[in-house]
Amino acid sequence: MIDLLNGIVALANFVLIPAIAYGSQLALGALGVTLIYGILRFSNFAHGDTMAVGTMFAVLVTWGLQGMGVSLGPFPTALLAIPFGILGAAAIVLLTDKYVYKFYRAQKAKPVILVIVSMGVMFIYNGFTRIIIGPDDHRFADGERFVISARTFRDMTGLEEGLALRTTQVITVVTAVVVVAALFWFLNKTRTGKSMRAFSDNEDLALLSGINPERVVLVTWLIVASLATVAGVLYGLDKSFKAFTYFQLLLPIFAAAIVGGLGNPLGAIAGGFVIAFSEVGITYAWKKVLVYLMPPALEPDGLVQILSTEYKFAVSFVILVIVLLFRPTGLFRGKSL
């Protein structure tokens, strides 16, 4: 019985909690991709770097706040900086839209042209981030590190396994829930949100009923900048901020959006968790859990790790391929062109 408890705690500590936190970050990122796909109708390759730009502004403001001695007590100062990060990202994204994307929208360019344009934007954001903050790793999390540390948990319960719950993980999940709830309320209840959905479902009909497309696009970019910044800051708090890592996040984020069904916000969230759980689950060495759950005679010798952690990109990719082969529109029936 105690073994079973130990096994469950180990499972929660090493798989469930990290995967839920990572999944929330991916879900927020995928929501941004899916909104752009639904409304502007192209796959935005610059999304990872949009996250990096927003996070960069937030990190800079965090440093400034820390320098002034402002803090949130047990919470990371970066939470205070998120609105500034969103402002920065929104400004950059709106400028990009005005000077770059708008032209192609007016031309009704093919989606693939917009994808190539977003590649150029990706280069520029990437260079911009690196010029301002440099290519290095930055940790900017401060405040209390743990809500429950492994040691306290062991003392509390008397179990052999500890359960560590980091502050950043709790903040990630809580923030993600709040942001997603706000987004869905906005999309389903407000006039602007409804006009966005109408625009996504059928552009011509939306135009006929007097919806202003430029306004829809503007609101979309604002939401995308907010989502990207929040996702980026949460990821950075949980791990660390590095321009290149954010660029690489593009793959799991796109995988999440496609697995859920491109253009479908609910799908993006589900996709984020599917990808996160499989990444963590497949790259985790299960021995630690199995030791408690299996009878001693059957205990495994090796680490029981299906793939080493360096292959986590392979996991998102394989899931993506499987979904594409068997359900090309994604789990939640997104758009198909």
Partner: protein, 429 residues
Amino acid sequence: MRTVLLFAVVACLILGTGVLQSWNAALLILNMGLISAIMALGVNLQWGLAGLFNVGVMGFVALGGLAVVLISMPPVGAAWQAGGGGILLGLTLGAATIVAAVLVWSRTSGKLRGWATAAVLLVGMVIYRMVLDPAVDAVESVDAARTGYLGGLGLPVLLAWPVGGVLAAGAAYVIGKTALGLRSDYLAIATLGIAEIIIAVLKNEDWMARGVKNVIGLPRPVPYEVDLQNDPAFVERAAGFGMDATTASTIYVKLEYGVLFAAVLVVLLVLAQLALNSPWGRMMRAIRDNETAARAMGKDVTARHLQVFILGSAICGVAGAMMTTLDGQLTPGSYQPLRYTFLVWVMVIVGGSGNNLGAVLGGFLIWFLWVQVEPMGQLLMSGLTAGMPDGSWLKDHLMDSVQHMRLLTMGLILLLVLRLNPRGLLPER
């Protein structure tokens, strides 16, 4: 006319580098420019001719690099004895598992289908790991500091170039089989993913090509500088040109590489031009411009796409093998998508998609800019910061950021070309 003029401009740029900086720098740009031109040719075949959106160039280039190691390095006997058989057996079992799973999936039906396939995969995976893991450990522990891998076949390095193409073609077949026929964005994401996976495999499978420990000292198809400097006849000839032996030898070696690369480029360019103007090329363009009409005419669109996808990727593989030969080392850590995938795309778009000569021109031009933006930025920044006191953090920061200017510049160039001249410098005819 325009073509000749633009190529003359690029030639002037490279010659200018030779006169103003050094001939070694100019030849370095020329050689990498040749390789970049070949990569651009490969992407142009896929995008310009068939409209396929491949953003996995980096992976195919890296596979070419792997081919150089597998073909040209001498085999490590001790490692083969320690676990060579085990690794081969393990890989065969892995492949057999996949084949068996596919067979089970296609031969069964009903509710059990999914479970049966999953069971076959699981059991196969366990056996595969049980065979492979100890063999890998054995191989990697053989003189880990110097070898720790199986080595290659010890064949002439030039043979690695076509083999690199074959490896890339194999990968392209697998990816094309799954992702082609779906939407264009899906192919983009799939290729992006496969490139990352190939790099991850190269970094982590130490038994294959030493992973991040890098394979250095790859055999060369040209003489070594040191040998030339010790060759009295060469020194004498160099003196005849009024050069010291060291400079002369480095230039000579680079020239010889340049000739080899140019030969490959010319062959591929001629083939690409012939393909473009053949009935096959016209069919490809017809498919690109109107898939539905082409399908109605009885063309097998997916098969043709697969064909051109494999061909283009193979060309990228050849270019990758050539690049690794030029470097003399395989460093998996240095493969970055911005440099190897997206830069090639900038080349194709700027040069003119659909025009082979345009792709070649773009390859040279963009590579020249990629190399030269940094010194130019340095100049600009020192001009900007001249008035600032030495050691001020802003000055240091600005000078540090020079190296990132190139990303910004490339993005700007791409956006400007797409906006002002979307058909590129040399438009498709």
